[in-house]
């Protein structure tokens, strides 16, 4: 039963990946839709970022003095000015660790 569910879940996931690339003719999408699609990264990734920072493992809102907020602010500043992915991630992690281990 579990195996069957995994296979169905896998097939559904694969169809989500494949449908728009292989099955749907791009001309079916109007110009307006295509223009809106340019916003997809900005419209999707904050749904991973915000809960990852503001909601803890138990589904509860964190306090406003949580080290994750500090780490995220540092990462945003470093990322904004350095334009470097590694610098963004490392600076966020290190500033987070400094707070939880040293302070």
């Amino acid at each position: 039963m579990t195996w069957l569910s995994i296979i169905i879940a896998g097939v559904i996931t694969y169809f989500m990946r494949m449908t728009m690339v292989a099955l749907v003719d791009r001309d079916l999408l109007g110009e307006k839709v295509k223009a809106v699609l340019a916003y997809v990264p900005s419209a999707v990734f904050p749904a991973i970022i915000f809960p990852g920072i503001f909601i803890n493992d138990f589904g509860i809102f964190i306090e406003m003095n949580d080290p994750k907020i500090f780490g995220a602010i540092i990462a945003i500043l470093v990322g904004y000015f350095s334009r470097n992915v590694i610098a963004t991630i490392i600076s966020g992690l290190f500033s987070y660790w400094i707070i939880i281990f040293l302070l």
């Binding site: 690339v21 292989a22 916003y39 419209a43 990852g52 991630i89």
Partner: protein
Amino acid sequence: MLTKKQLITKGILAVAPHMFSVIPFGIVCGAIGIELGFSPILVYAMSIIIFGGASQIVFLQLLSGGASAFIAVTSVGVINSRHLLYGAVLSEYLEKLSFVKKLLISYIVVDQGFAESNKFFQKNKTEPYLHYHLIGTGGTLWICWQLATLSGIILGSFVPEELGLKFAVPLTFIAIVVQDLKKLDHVIVMITCGLSSLLFFDAPFKSYIIISPIIALFVAALVLRLKK
């Protein structure tokens, strides 16, 4: 013009920094599956059959928590439905590929690979072998995900929990969108999505992950109309 090899290499390099979050997340994903009492083969098979980090963890947690198979499968579908959006964006650049190649390349599209290849595609629209960049990003993510979940399954989580490496996941995605903070329209769309995700966090089937992008895209359409 870039050769196929150069494009793959560029793809690998573009996605490499994201391994800081993908590898710890994969280890945790494998280790959690074993902790929850599932067989190692089953936990690993998910990395090949589903190949989607967050959805794999949610699936196992739901089943072990006594949820029905229907709920577990639906949640995976809802969480991964964002790939419909990625596909719609990428289709512009993959249009010329044969049907079989489209079927094959779709399997390796995941968040970070989509994000980095999409950025590259926007700047290099005229390159003839663009999809090799996606093979570079997606292939790297696939291989690392397999190795990471396997390590988690075999060794357990050898990443100490105190390090809080889960925090690397939001950081990776911050790195992806941070440059768009320079554009006001994108900032509005991001804040809409982020606040919606917190507001709808408790919605069933983890559906906040697709509800908030839909709301944000509606706002994007409004913004576009106002810009004209």
